[in-house]
Every structure is written in structure tokens, then in C-alpha cells.
Amino acid sequence: MVDIIFILTPILLGYIFGSIAEKNHYKSIQEREKKFMRLPTISLKTPLNPDNITRSRLVVGNVVISVDYFKRVLAGLKNIFGGNVTSYETLVDRARREAILRLKEDAKGASEIINLKLETSSINKSAQGTIGSIEIFAYGTAIYRK
């Protein structure tokens, strides 16, 4: 009986807090994405109009995000049946969007960000080889115009 409680408690806690955290995070991401709508971030290497550029500099943004226990268990089950692991998809999606938002916050006053690169690395690998937490690092060149 005690064993079952020990197994179920982290799953339940993970489910409750994880889903609240994810909901809040998505809400804040959407709000901030609206705010930065006027700052285009593109993966082209050359600025579209090179005439009135005053300066350019490297801007970066990074985030380390962890999956909750409930989702980890869910993903473990998915490993048996195969198919899309939706719980990890949302994790990576959230992390990427957050990293790009931080990049944009770093580029205050810029007219655009070019050559956006995204790098993913999983840190803190657990023993079973599943991802514990991932880091997304975004970098690009901010272009300032007159």
C-alpha cells in the first residue's frame, strides 16, 4: 500500500503542477509573441535592405526546461506502443518559443533579427536514457536601422 502511494504521489503532483505550469507558460508566450510581432526574426543570411543600417550585433536567448513526472511516465508508456509523444512535443515547442522570445528581448530597438539559429541539447540525462531536461539556445544578428 505504502509502495503504491510512493509511486502515485509524484505522478499526481507532476500532473497537477505540470499542467498548471504549462497552461500559464503558453499564455505568457502568446502574450509576449503578440508584443514582439513587429520584430521579424528570419533565417536569411543577408538583410533585405542594406542601405540605412547603422549597426549590427549578436543577440542570444536560452532556456532550460524540464518535463514533469507525469509526462515522463506517459512518454515511457508511449515507448511501448510507438507513435507521437505529444507530451514531449509540447515541451520542446514551449522551450523553442521561449528561447526566441528571450532573443527578441535581448534585441531591444532592433528592426529585425537575421540568420536565426536554434540549437537543442539535452542536459541532465537520466539513467534510462530518456530526456530529463533540455536546453534550447537561440542566436542571431540584430540589425539596427536609422
Partner: protein, 104 residues
Amino acid sequence: MIITNIESIPNRKIVDHFGVVSGSTVRAKHVGRDLMAGLKNVFGGELKGYTELLSESREEAMDRMTAQAKSLGANAIVNVRFSTSSVAAGAAELYVYGTAVKIV
């Protein structure tokens, strides 16, 4: 020192190349942060300690790259790339490299 990750610096002319410059750091996290990360693994969410740690380490690596470029007499670095690799459990290497150039 102007740093970009494109091949040129807009509206400036590259007059001299100094070759590749690079900087790297290997960082490990301390126990307190590890403990918090363990808790976060249950609840999910952002690991702020790690985010800070990694961005600080990247800055350190970039500082080393910039110092190297300065000692060569460059005033800009173009085509900067980052790479991350975990060398051991709990330690990560952050590597940054680019081409040192002189611009006018």
C-alpha cells in the same frame, strides 16, 4: 568589438582576416542547484539555475574568444557559431568560434 553570426558586417568593409578564434568553458553545476533540479523534475517547468549557469558560461566563452581576437588586432568577429557538448555527467562544454576580421 562587433560580433555577428553572418558572413559580413552590414555597411562595413572587411579589410583583413586573422583566421579562426575560439573560446570554450567547461562548467559543472553545484549541489544546491542539482537538488532544485531534482525537484523540478517532478513538477516540471523552467530550471532557472541551469539557464543562468549556461548563459554565464557562454558569456565567459565569448569573452575568451573576444580577448583572443583583440590580441590579434581584430576589431570584429564574423560568422560566430556555438556548440554545446556534455563531457561528463553534470558538466557541459560550451564552445564558441568565429572568424576574426578587421573592418573599416
